[in-house]
């Protein structure tokens, strides 16, 4: 074995004292130890990311919410996003302490919304915003997008909590109620599950173990431990109660 070590480290070219076998062995041991340490460190650091993703279909108010949370005002308004907005903000928790959270607002356009997968590694929770006013014409596409988020491997494995926000509640009677939207989502995802399962999609089977049970968010929480909660909001007028509710749900404390 010493011969092998010598050959691999090209010890013949090194000066005499270094080519002593014990020094060579200790060098090798040091390298291995360093390697192990870095591995252990990264493993320990592990899934404790600090990001909260803001996802949702086009025009639902993601960038508005982002600006509201970061700057407490929406300034001049927003247009359709082409790129994601990433920033770190301090969040006031109900117990008084404040924590730094990285907010990521991913555009809703179908061509670019897949970028959220690159941020999933550091995510602790997901906010999924929908437009409560203009909900019914797009409910199928929106439910499909939510389904794609829920079926991601990392989301299921780490049981990331998802907060469903029904935005644009400031429009009063025109906005659908939270319970209505929740039921519509559950129906749509139930249908998606059955069609996706026939396509051989194994994630669909994992989403809810029993096939015959209708899909509800409560059943998902019980089965998978991933909490999906819903609430209404209005990003334009800025709701601090929402913030507290949202982030205590996300188990940030």
């Amino acid at each position: 074995m010493e011969q092998d070590i010598r050959a691999s480290l090209q010890l013949d070219s090194l000066p005499e004292r270094v080519s002593h076998p014990s020094t060579a062995l200790s060098l090798a041991g040091l390298v291995v130890l360093l390697l192990l340490l870095t591995l252990v460190r990264s493993w320990l650091k592990g899934p404790k990311g600090k990001s909260v993703l803001i996802l949702g279909p086009c025009g639902s108010g993601k960038t508005t919410l982002f600006l509201q949370l970061r700057d407490s005002s929406i300034h001049q308004g927003t247009v359709a996003s082409m790129q994601e907005n990433v920033d770190t903000i301090p969040i006031q928790l109900p117990n008084g302490s404040s924590k730094l959270v990285q907010l990521v607002d991913v555009p809703g356009h179908p061509r670019v919304r897949g970028k959220f997968r690159t941020y999933l590694d550091k995510t602790r929770g997901i906010i999924y915003i929908v437009d409560a006013v203009d909900f019914t014409p797009h409910k199928t596409a929106t439910a499909e997008q939510l389904y794609e988020v829920l079926e991601q491997g990392l989301v299921r494995k780490r049981r990331m909590p998802v907060l469903l926000v029904c935005n644009k509640g400031d429009q009063g009677a025109k906005a659908h109620t939270t319970s209505f939207i929740q039921k519509q989502f559950e129906k749509e995802i139930d249908q998606l599950r059955s069609t996706r399962r026939t396509l051989g999609d194994s994630a669909a089977a994992d989403l809810l173990p029993k096939a015959d049970m209708p899909f509800t968010f409560e059943a998902l929480s019980k089965a998978r431990g991933a909490q999906v909660s819903c609430c209404g909001a209005s990003a334009k007028s800025g709701l601090y109660s929402f913030t507290r509710l949202g982030f205590s749900n996300d188990r940030m404390s």
Partner: protein
């Protein structure tokens, strides 16, 4: 004049806006969604038509280093020559004032007004002396004869609506508005404004002032100006001849008079009467039935097979891209300065990219794309769009220009291939079932691409997923088409609705839909005859089939072997479907089915051309000649084989 000017960040926050009049609809949102995110940011302008009211033209410029977009919106009927200068001037002025998290720019409005008045004054000065020049032949009919596509967005992407043509037409319009009494503007007046504005390729290509002395309308000049190909009359006549052979035959068959037949009396029956007196039920398929046996559905269609997801493709891609990439930048101003520049760009990442840095890498990548069978102008537009998004960006440290360009191109290709609408057909079938009607899919395409074969493959897949399909044979022209479908139906044990040959396909399709609804079938697949995109009467027939029957899905079947013709095919198909529709929202191509993909190993570029031109997602890929050879699109592997 100018209706609206906005500056916003790429993340979506509006930084500054200047509003002269209230806008109808949401032009800026539509621009981002349908143009900038669809890899068309290299185009010079874009048209938006709101739900009510006249359309707008939008022009924009990007500042990639800071991530800003500058957009100018004005009425579509106007031609404002100073917009490009205005955009450049505002970009310069705002870049100086911009601070990353600042949203208030109070002093900027004055500066903007100054730049605007300056640009307007300069444009007026250029226009003024030309008004007094002698007017040539009238181009009065040019505005009216421009092809009126129903979707105005298509005009921006159309090969005819380059900056020069639209500028000539619109300048003529403004000219006509100004002096309607005098004979309308000639092309000579356009030479000077075009020459001095910043539009690319500004010399008007069709100016032939020497021939414009006639007073009458000159069709030759019109065609030259519109850039159309050789006069169509000759070729149309030959094409019509070939398509009309079907017509007279039909008429001849119907016009044959019925002769009176003698009644047969008496007990004595001749042997020939044996057939007429045989009322027993005939076995389906006749004498050829021993060759066809129903196939079993046990072999799983490859649509549902999981494709392996290579996560380390990106790493491989970057390595290979940098290895094959062209060197970064050409020497500007001596060896030492270029060396310093290279170091500052690739190592420390401080200098911003310029067009000169990007173009060598892009030229190499464009050539590579064309080698992989991407259509030439699609590859050109794509590279232009990537260049416009990269210019001004800073390189990260220790990255080469070629790596960054390859990365940007890879992202752009992935974005193009990502579907914009759902490709889950089973879900849509369920939705149609819930409404109590069959889900109707129509297969269209040119001759010989494999419509009937792939229709059978899709039927096989639907059968495996537990649905009850029915096939309608609306190819009433090609000999043997109905029999081919009969064979497929016998093997798959699926009902066929056919009415033989020489019938109107639209009517056969309508009857088939009614039949499927009555019998409660889940899906109805309609096979149509192949037709060339230039064939007027056949395209009209196809359009009437689709617009009369309102199918749920129009699938364009294209082969992976097609080259530059893919662009032409899809553009013309979509255009015909849009032009001949009676309603305001025409039904254009919803999805693509790419066939014969097993014959092209790496050269999958036809998929990019087709998706770029039509914006329709690829639903299926046909990769063989048996029933199971139907797959879904795997974006990563296609992008990898394109940039290998």
């Amino acid at each position: 004049m100018l209706d609206y000017f906005a500056i916003f960040s790429k993340g979506g926050a509006l930084l500054w806006a200047f509003q002269l009049t209230a806008l109808r609809g949401t032009p800026v949102d539509a621009l981002v969604r349908t143009c900038l995110l669809e890899e068309r940011s290299g185009e010079s302008s874009w048209t938006y038509v709101p739900p009510q009211g006249a359309g707008y033209t939008l022009k924009w410029t990007l500042h990639n280093g800071l991530g800003l977009v500058f957009v100018a919106v004005y009425q579509r009927t106007l031609k404002l020559l100073y917009i490009d200068q205005l955009l450049a001037g505002v970009k310069e002025a705002f870049t100086v004032q911009y601070k990353p998290k600042c949203f208030e720019y109070p002093g900027f409005e004055k500066r903007f007004q100054a730049i605007l008045t300056n640009c307007e004054a300069r444009a007026d000065d250029k226009q003024l002396p030309q008004q007094l020049r002698p007017k040539g032949a009238s181009g009065a009919l040019q505005k009216g004869s421009r092809p009126k596509g129903a979707g105005a967005q298509r005009e921006a992407g159309d090969k005819k609506s380059s900056e020069e043509d639209s500028s000539e037409d619109d300048a003529l319009t403004t000219q006509m508005i100004r002096d309607p009494a005098a004979s309308t503007g000639s092309m000579t007046e356009l030479d000077a404004p075009d020459g001095s504005s910043d539009s690319p390729g500004s010399g008007s290509p069709t100016a032939a002032p020497g021939t414009s002395k006639q007073a009458g309308f000159d069709q030759g000049r019109l065609q030259k100006m519109l850039g159309s190909p050789a006069p169509r009359s000759k070729t149309n006549a030959t094409r019509r001849k070939t398509s009309d052979t079907g017509g007279p035959k039909k008429k001849g068959a119907e016009a044959k008079p019925k002769k009176k037949e003698a009644r047969k009396w008496g007990k004595g029956t001749a042997s020939s009467d044996g057939e007429t007196l045989d009322f027993s039920e005939k076995v389906e398929g006749g004498s050829g039935s021993e060759n066809e046996q129903a196939i079993d559905l046990s072999m799983k269609s490859r649509v549902d097979a999981d494709e392996e997801d290579d996560l380390d493709i990106i790493a491989d891609l970057k390595e290979e891209g940098s290895a094959a990439g062209v060197g970064s930048g050409k020497p500007t101003g001596g060896l030492l300065s270029s060396f310093v520049r290279n170091i500052s760009m690739s190592v420390t990442g401080t200098a911003a990219l310029t067009a000169d840095d990007i173009s060598p890498a892009l030229v190499g990548l464009k050539r590579k794309l064309m080698e992989r069978n991407v259509a030439e102008d699609v590859a050109g537009k794509l590279c232009f769009s990537v260049a416009s998004q990269l210019e001004g960006q800073k390189l990260g440290s220790f990255t080469r220009v070629s790596t960054m360009v390859a990365g940007a191109l890879e992202e752009a290709l992935t974005r193009i291939l990502t579907p914009r609408r759902s490709i889950d057909i089973l879900r849509e079938v369920r939705a149609a079932q819930a409404q109590g009607r069959p889900y109707v899919m129509v297969f269209v395409g040119v001759n010989g691409v494999g419509k009937s074969t792939n229709l059978a493959k899709v039927t096989y897949w639907l059968l495996q997923n537990g649905l009850r399909p029915c096939i309608a044979a609306c190819d009433t022209f090609r000999s043997g088409a109905v029999e081919q479908l009969k064979t497929h139906c016998t093997r798959l044990n699926v009902p066929l609705y056919e009415r033989g040959y020489e019938k109107d396909p639209a009517k056969v399709a309508a009857e088939a839909i009614a039949h499927a609804k009555r019998q409660k079938y889940d899906v109805l697949l309609v096979d149509t005859a192949g037709r060339m995109q230039d064939n007027e009467p056949l395209m009209r027939a196809l359009s009437s089939l689709i617009n009369l029957n309102h199918p749920d899905l129009v699938l364009f079947v294209g082969e992976a072997l097609v080259g530059n013709d893919a662009v032409d095919q899809l553009t013309k198909f979509n255009q015909r479907l849009a032009d001949l529709a009676r309603s305001a929202t025409p039904h254009t191509i919803d999805g693509l089915l790419v066939t014969k993909a097993d014959t092209v190993d790496d050269k999958v570029g036809a998929m990019i051309s087709m998706v770029y031109v039509s914006s329709a997602p690829i639903m299926f890929i046909g990769c063989g000649q048996t029933y199971v050879d139907l797959k879904r699109l795997n974006i990563k592997s296609v992008v990898r084989s394109l940039l290998k």
